[in-house]
Symmetry: C2
Subunit: 227 residues, 2 copies
C-alpha cells in the first residue's frame, strides 16, 4: 500500500471507531430511557425506545458493510484485520443491547397497567452499572486499553449479584401479595435483560483484551490476571 | 495464490464448516439435555449440561482463531472473506446458545426443589422448534441455501407465540396457586431462554441470506420475499 493509501486506510479505521462510539451512545441512551419509562410509568418514553431501535439496527448494518469493504479492498495485515473483525462483533453486540432496551420498554408498557412495586433501587443500580460498563468498554476499545477492558469485565459480578437479589425480592413480593404477580414477572424479565447487557459489555471487554494482547480470556474465571 | 494453494484453502474452508456443524450439534444436544433435566427432574443431566459448556466454549475460540488465521494468511477475496466473517459470527451465536442451555439447566436445578407444574407441552414444543431451527440453519449455511435460511427465520414467529402463551399460562398458575410461584418464575426464565435461542438461529439465518444473496434482511419484517 502507498503511504497515501495507508493514511487513507487509517482514516477509515478511525471513522469505524467513531461510528461504534456513536452507536454505543445510542444503545446506552436507549437503556436509560427504557428504565425511565419503567420508573416514571411514561408510555411516551417506552414508545420512543421501541421506535428508535431502527436507528441502532441501521448503524449495525452500516458498520458491518464498512468493515467488510475495508477487509476486501485493503486486505489489511493481522492487527488491523483483527480490529475490523472485532468492530463487526462489537456492532453485533451493541445491536443486541438495543434489543434488550426494547424488551425493557415493552415490559415497562405492561407494568404500567398494574400497581407500582419495588425493587426499584436494585434495578436502577443494575442499569447504571451496565451502562457505565458499555461506555467504559467502548472507550477501552478505542484507546486499545486492555487493563481498563479487564476491569470492566470484573464489574459484571456486581450486575449478576444484583440480578440474584432482584429474583429473591420479587419471589417474596409475589408470595406476600398475589396482586403484584403480573408486575413482578415483568420486573423479573427487566432484570434479566439488564444482566444480559452486562454480559454483552463483558464480551466486548474480552474482545478488546484479545485484540490488544492477542490472548483470549473468554470463558475463564481469569479476568484480572489471577488464573 | 497457486492452484495448490487454492485447493488447500478450500480444504480449510470445508474444515471450518464441519467444525461449525459439530459445534451446532453440541449446542443442540445441550439444549435437549437441559430440557430433559427439567422434565425428568434429573440433577445429573443438569450438571452434565453445565459441565459440558466448556467444550462448546473451546470450540468457539478454536473456530475464531482458525478463521482469523485464514483471513490473515490467505487474504481471501470478497466471497470467501464474507464466509469466514460469517463463520466467526455463527460460532459466537452458537456459544450463546450453549450459555442459554446452561441457564435452562440452572433453572431446572432450582425447579426440582419445588412441586411439578405445567406448562410442559409449550416448553417442549419451543425447545423442539428452536433445536430444529438451529440444525436446519446450519445445514443452510453449509449448503449456501438462502431459501432454506429464510424459511428458518419465519419459524421464529412460532417460538415467539409459544413464549407469549407460556407467560399467560404461568401468570394464571401463580395467581391461582401461590405455592407454584417459585417454579413458575423458573419456567418463565426457561421460556425466555428458548425464545432467545430462536432469535440466535434467526440471526444465523439472516447471515446466511446476506452471505448468499449479498443482501441484508436484518431488521426487516421481510424474511420471505414480501417487502
Amino acid at each position: 500500500m502507498s503511504q497515501e493509501g495507508h493514511r487513507h486506510f487509517h482514516d477509515e479505521l478511525s471513522q469505524v471507531k467513531v461510528r461504534l462510539l456513536t452507536m454505543s451512545g445510542e444503545a446506552e441512551a436507549a437503556v436509560q430511557v427504557a428504565i425511565e419509562a419503567l420508573l416514571e410509568r411514561d408510555a411516551d418514553k417506552a414508545r420512543q425506545v421501541i421506535a428508535g431501535d431502527s436507528v441502532i439496527d441501521a448503524m449495525e448494518v452500516e458498520i458491518e458493510e464498512k468493515c467488510l469493504n475495508l477487509l476486501a479492498l485493503q486486505q489489511p495485515m493481522a492487527k488491523d484485520l483483527r480490529l475490523l473483525v472485532s468492530a463487526i462483533k462489537i456492532s453485533n453486540d451493541l445491536e443486541r443491547v438495543g434489543d434488550h432496551a426494547v424488551n425493557i420498554a415493552q415490559s415497562a408498557e405492561r407494568i404500567m397497567q398494574s400497581r407500582p412495586i419495588t425493587p426499584e433501587p436494585e434495578i436502577v443500580e443494575m442499569a447504571r452499572v451496565a451502562r457505565e460498563m458499555l461506555s467504559d468498554v467502548l472507550e477501552a476499545f478505542v484507546r486499545g486499553d486492555s487493563a481498563s477492558a479487564r476491569e470492566v469485565c470484573l464489574r459484571d459480578d456486581k450486575v449478576d449479584a444484583l440480578n440474584r437479589s432482584v429474583f429473591r425480592i420479587l419471589l417474596t413480593h409475589m408470595m406476600e401479595d398475589p396482586h403484584s404477580i403480573g408486575a413482578a414477572m415483568g420486573l423479573l424479565l427487566v432484570s434479566r435483560n439488564l444482566e444480559r447487557i452486562g454480559d454483552l459489555a463483558t464480551n466486548i471487554g474480552e474482545d478488546v483484551v484479545f485484540l490488544v494482547e492477542g490472548k483470549s480470556i473468554k470463558h475463564h474465571a481469569e479476568h484480572f490476571g489471577n488464573q
